[in-house]
Assembly symmetry: C2
């Protein structure tokens, strides 16, 4: 059985699905939008365009929809689509509350339709390179993982700047970055959440955040996104008890991991004068006492996500992006907003 995809919301991400899903062998058959200009674009791309949702959902042969609308209508559109016999992949965030997600999952179980979320960043190269170095123990036991995404776009565009539509950076990039890190620790509980949300340029929603997650038995996790940061900090920075990992950017062209090389050279046996003043702990390490390793090569292919959905439709595969994983991220996000609002760390078991 092939996937015949309909796109609900032919804006930025809807357009993207229309362009890229065919690379995974998916047939894109129809699009629904409220904006006539977007419908024109769909037609130009050979996709049948609908301004009426009910008619769109009756499109002949269509069996799967991707929902790429503002976040506040994800739930309603998901349930309506499943009732019309569609499998559903909804854009992230799946929805804006755990309760809503539970309702969506209940409807999926009732109707037997697939329900999943477009957590495509699980296939990002940088994430997989970091994960490989960490999981292969290249830098020993890991004590701290820092995940950062900085840009200079500043304030948001369109609906993303309104809290009622689910705007803000936690619900935009945060959802991806938390999904990536929680995916590394499926069986380890987050025990503590501390979040600082800021608005640098935007006045209504968070356009800069710093979140710290404590794991019951694992590294400290730091996730930070800035939309108006003119200098970049590394995408990944990981501290282990046998070395340090740094990945500068998404393309993994710069970065590596460095470890001590044990030699007879004493490391800062005496106080050394540096531009930082007299120090021993912070004195430069002689070059022969450290060793630099390149980042490993990792093959990633995001089309695996669509291929998985076809496999699930055919009953041959398990869903990669599972409802309980989505729920865990939404649970975390609710606590993040609570922590920021109450200005304190919050004890949890997520």
């Amino acid at each position: 059985m092939g996937m015949k995809l309909g796109i609900i919301g032919y804006g930025g991400m809807g357009y993207w699905h229309g362009e890229y899903a065919p690379r995974a062998g998916v047939e894109v058959v129809a699009a629904y939008d409220v904006d006539p200009k977007r419908l024109e674009m769909a037609k130009d791309n050979g996709i049948e365009a609908y301004d009426n949702l009910d008619e769109f959902l009756k499109h002949d042969g269509m069996n799967f929809v991707v929902i790429a609308t503002p976040n506040d209508v994800h739930k309603e559109l998901t349930i309506k689509s499943m009732h019309a016999g569609m499998h559903v992949m909804v854009e992230k965030p799946a929805t804006m509350s755990v309760t809503d997600w539970d309702d969506m999952v209940a409807e999926s179980e009732k109707t037997g339709q697939i329900l999943t979320v477009h957590q495509n960043r699980r296939w990002d190269k940088d994430y997989n390179v970091m994960r490989k170095v960490v999981e292969e123990g290249k830098i020993g036991e890991v004590l701290s993982i820092e995940s950062r995404v900085f840009g200079t776009g500043g304030a948001f565009f369109g609906w993303r700047s309104f809290p009622e539509y689910g705007g803000g950076m936690i619900l935009d990039w945060g959802v991806h970055l938390f999904d990536q890190l929680l995916g590394m620790y499926p069986d380890i509980k987050v025990t503590n959440v501390y979040a600082k949300l800021m608005t640098v340029l935007d006045q209504k929603v968070d356009d800069y955040f710093k979140v710290t997650l404590t794991l019951e038995n694992g590294p400290l996790l730091h996730v930070e996104v800035g939309t108006y940061a003119f200098y970049k900090l590394p995408r990944w920075y990981v501290i282990g008890n046998e070395g340090t990992l740094q990945i500068d950017d998404f393309d993994c062209e710069k970065g590596g991991y460095m470890k001590p090389r044990y030699t007879d050279t004493p490391v800062a046996e005496v106080v050394v004068m540096t531009s930082a003043g007299p120090t021993r702990m912070m004195a430069p390490r002689p070059p022969e006492t450290k060793e630099d390793f390149p980042l490993p090569e990792v093959e990633t292919d995001w089309t695996e996500l669509y291929q998985n959905l076809v496999g699930v439709m055919e009953g041959k595969e398990d869903l990669i992006v599972k409802p309980h994983q989505v729920r865990r991220v939404l649970e975390l996000i609710e606590v993040i907003f609570q922590s920021a609002e109450e200005d304190r760390s919050i004890e949890v078991r997520i």
Copy 2:
């Protein structure tokens, strides 16, 4: 009246005072230590050496001592020295509890002897450059200041690896970095403290920490020190609503601040494909829409600290490093240890 300085504890920092105080016109006359090897070094440097504290304190003409011993004996030595008629500058941390500091200050008020702490990093170039950019509003209203010091020395040497002597990074570098930042906000209260202390290599004391301080009306402050971090993050990273400041290292040779330049060029009007995937907020900004500024020149001279002490002795100046400032940092440090121990953020008014 000139300063005739005696040094209590002629180890790493005691030796440093012996070498550098003369640059401020100070006469170094005597040293006390329990280690015969250190006393030999003092003699070689033309300083009269004592292995008996009472005899040292009777050294003819000596009027000021600097105490550079393990932290656990700062209080006892300070009080004993003041009773012997000495003014006292104690190495940081002044002592290990607020109560102890209050006792030391009470003794200073009773005896009329000067009591101060060697917070020499107030004169560090990088700190003063950062402070100038921030206070002159070069990057607008500041929302976040991050202060980081990373080295690769790893585990501590000597007494610094024992909690009972006051070892660990909070009491070593932390004291300086908190003093620097609180110095920028003398009249603004710290309202929330969140601290994570880690031991990467050392087993007894913190050799890596991350501390977040919330101000009542000011930027979020982040202070981080790692002793086993093979890649450096910038010494300073500051986010303002009109730009970003970065200072790479103590010498201020690399860094600057960057601001938007308003032109007719639209900034990421549409979704752009990057190696990060489709994004608008994180899309690269066209070069003509940003402007890079060099770090300002700042003249700093740490000998001002000793010159100030001479001025205070002569009744001509007020103390720069004041007891109430020292007390504030110690108060903060007590809460930092509490936050880390209880694994939660703590509401304060410091």
